[in-house]
Symmetry: C2
Subunit: 428 residues, 2 copies
């Protein structure tokens, strides 16, 4: 399929091609009240201004719902459901299409262009949805294996349940922040010297985790299960997610109830939610599971992972940037529909805006690790950076950036932009 | 101190004496829109109607904030902060006091009494606060010890971290429900026969957990720590909490990231939040910790647990009720201020309405166990009930009720009422 072309100049390498149309929440210095927008090339289309300027006049199905574009989160838009997401996304594509059916809506409407089409660099982005509950899974098989080898040896690397169900735990919704938010190095109890007992100390093993996040767009009741075949209807879209981790705090606190303060000091998501419809052309198999799924998890061969190329870079205080990781989001043993089916099999209720994390995504290769714990062998092997610097874990002033994109650089990229955060010094 | 007496007839054994004044959310068949109320004897005082009838006219400090009593949750009232909770509670006590200073407000105002003072039996109660995040701790030392003995033997019963920090994990806020909500037996993956692998099955080891829940009434920012000395200012009040648990699902799923579907099918809280001020006369030491606290957890002898007498009863489908447990809420190794200080030491942010669970409260004696896992030795020793029935775990049709009260039965009880739920059959 030839790439769609827009009348708006878009760099062919832009993550936000006409094939994408991701949704987010923006504000500007001129209008500090956050509102929904889409990203297109190096612009944001402010959907509150677009609505106010009758941009949706030609789309009768959205008329009764236009107030969703005046909200300060995407929850109300998400709650409209996937058929309406598709209608809105395709309409906005057609409005932006070169020689498209609606030239008068925006292309030839200078007043609306001026009020609604804003340079991305002038926009602040905000958390795209109000998150009710956040769950983090552990579906990155290679990551789980590598971490298991570190802590239990190669014979017992994976726990017995691992391939039977998507292992997950409840995370802290209040600590999910949007890309760009500084991340303060956490303090916590750390067992440095077992003779002395634990001490309260700034984390010495601060790590990132390369993940995908998936927002939920429909609710379910207490006691209700979502079938794996119905689960795609509950998925709004995907973001990149960095589940910052304090490995030394985690090592001391995590038995027997799992990670806690080692995770709840910050989890960063990218600002632009790529809708499930935009990702559909890139649907792919994940890692083949050599353990047969129970029927409630059986997708019967449906491709419900995605061929997203993922990159992790580290910019140190020196200003030099090094690539730490290049891998693919296909490195997952379970898909988001499987995660949602498992999560609700016992009747756990869901709300619009709930967030599912994939778990850390690592490939098999040395340069495909989704965290420094794996890359540095838990602090034993230094990672060499540009300019001769080295890292075992993250240092103050380091900026860690996740990036992800689907497709080739031909003006048809469906990308996520960046998910970035800079480490700032701990409070003493 | 002699008990305070009200002009309103109150049974001296009522949990809702004039010394209590707990806050909740009610609706009635005449007015289905939920609103704040207090419980007093066998009545609820509808605070929306009380406000509308100028009940707060004499209380100038609350005038600018009266809209909090038109909300459908207590979040806005909680957010006013502890000094205002105290003012409102003491004012309502004085309005209800026999020969008190404000006879014209309610006692001699028949119109307002008729609109605002409702028989409790005519009221439906609702979840008292909108919960952002819910965290469950594990501070019941005897419970942790008993469970540790079951799974790791007496030599390794407590993990090494246990006495150094309040162990906790993030729970599922969406699954917290108010007392009276039926609890559907969850399905889940269970490893019955290791040869065959896990199967999807209704839980066969359904359990209750006797806990206290504590609601938070002030927010903190990402990166901010709450000092243990400041933590009481962040606490709104306490409820009883039943953290229903599926032991067989938990046994298979919980490594390495902790409990998940074994918990998120329902957690029940009592409807009436007993304010911290009401509990202050019953402040008591918890379990003495023989491991010195790090300074950030050191309360320097302050009594911040509570002498709450706790009872658990089980009514079976036969209609007969048996007492399973009698113990005290003093059986906690850490207090809520310590939990909050630990939770935020790394910078985890809090919102008004967040809920902290104490962890299961068990005493040392056989009849003081806070769950059936302990009581039945993980399904090996039958618990004898009234009428000759026996239980290892909960059966469909069982109604489990937690109850808790401070003080003697002299018309000055500060109690929680009941936290109850009936088990209904699993979906197949």
């Amino acid at each position: 399929m030839a790439p769609l072309r827009s009348w708006l100049p878009i760099d062919p390498r832009s993550h936000f091609s006409l094939h994408n149309i991701p949704f987010g929440i923006i504000s500007t210095s001129a209008d500090s009240k956050p509102c929904p927008a889409i990203a297109i090339g190096d612009h944001a289309l402010d959907l509150r201004a677009f609505t106010a300027g009758n941009g949706f006049a030609a789309l009768s199905t959205i008329q009764p719902h236009q107030s969703v574009f005046s909200e300060s989160t995407l929850n109300a838009f998400a709650a409209l459901g996937r058929p309406l997401h598709k209608v809105v996304r395709e309409y906005l594509q057609s409005v932006l299409l070169k020689d498209g059916p609606f030239p008068d809506v925006l292309e030839k409407n200078e007043k609306l262009r001026q009020s609604a089409l804003l340079p991305l660099e002038d926009c602040d982005t905000h958390l795209p949805l109000r998150i009710g509950d956040y769950t983090d899974f552990y579906a990155g098989l290679h990551h789980a294996h590598n971490v298991g080898v570190l802590f239990r040896g190669p014979q017992n690397a994976l726990q017995k349940n691992y391939k039977h169900l998507p292992v997950g735990y409840h995370g802290r919704a209040s600590s999910v922040v949007v890309s760009g938010t500084p991340i303060q190095r956490p303090r916590g109890q750390i067992l440095v010297d077992p003779e002395k007992g634990p001490e309260l100390s700034p984390c010495r093993k601060l790590d990132f985790e390369l993940e995908l996040g998936c927002f939920v767009c429909a609710s379910s009741d207490l006691g209700e299960s979502i079938a794996v075949d119905d689960a795609p209807d509950y998925l709004f879209g995907i973001v990149l997610m960095n589940d910052w981790s304090a490995r030394d705090i985690q090592a001391w606190e995590y038995v027997p109830l799992g990670p806690f303060n080692s995770k709840n000091f910050g989890t960063t998501v990218s600002p632009w939610v790529v809708l499930m419809d935009a990702l559909e052309p890139f649907a792919a198999d994940g890692i083949e599971n050599d353990v047969p799924s129970l029927p409630y998890l059986d997708e019967r061969g449906r491709k419900s992972n995605f061929a997203i190329d993922l990159t992790v870079t580290l910019r140190t205080a020196s200003g030099l940037t090094s690539t730490l990781t290049k891998t693919s989001a296909r490195n997952l043993l379970f898909s988001f529909p499987q995660m949602l089916a498992h999560h609700t099999v016992g009747g756990c209720p869901f709300n619009v805006g709930d967030l599912l994390g994939s778990g850390t995504i690592s490939g098999k290769g040395k340069d495909e690790k989704g965290c420094l714990l794996e890359r540095s062998d838990n602090g034993k092997i230094e990672v060499e950076l540009e300019g001769g610097e080295r890292r075992l874990f993250l240092e103050d002033g380091d900026t860690l950036t996740l990036s992800g994109v689907c497709g080739q650089g031909d003006g048809a990229l469906v990308g996520f932009g960046e998910c970035t955060g800079t480490i700032v010094e701990a409070v003493r």
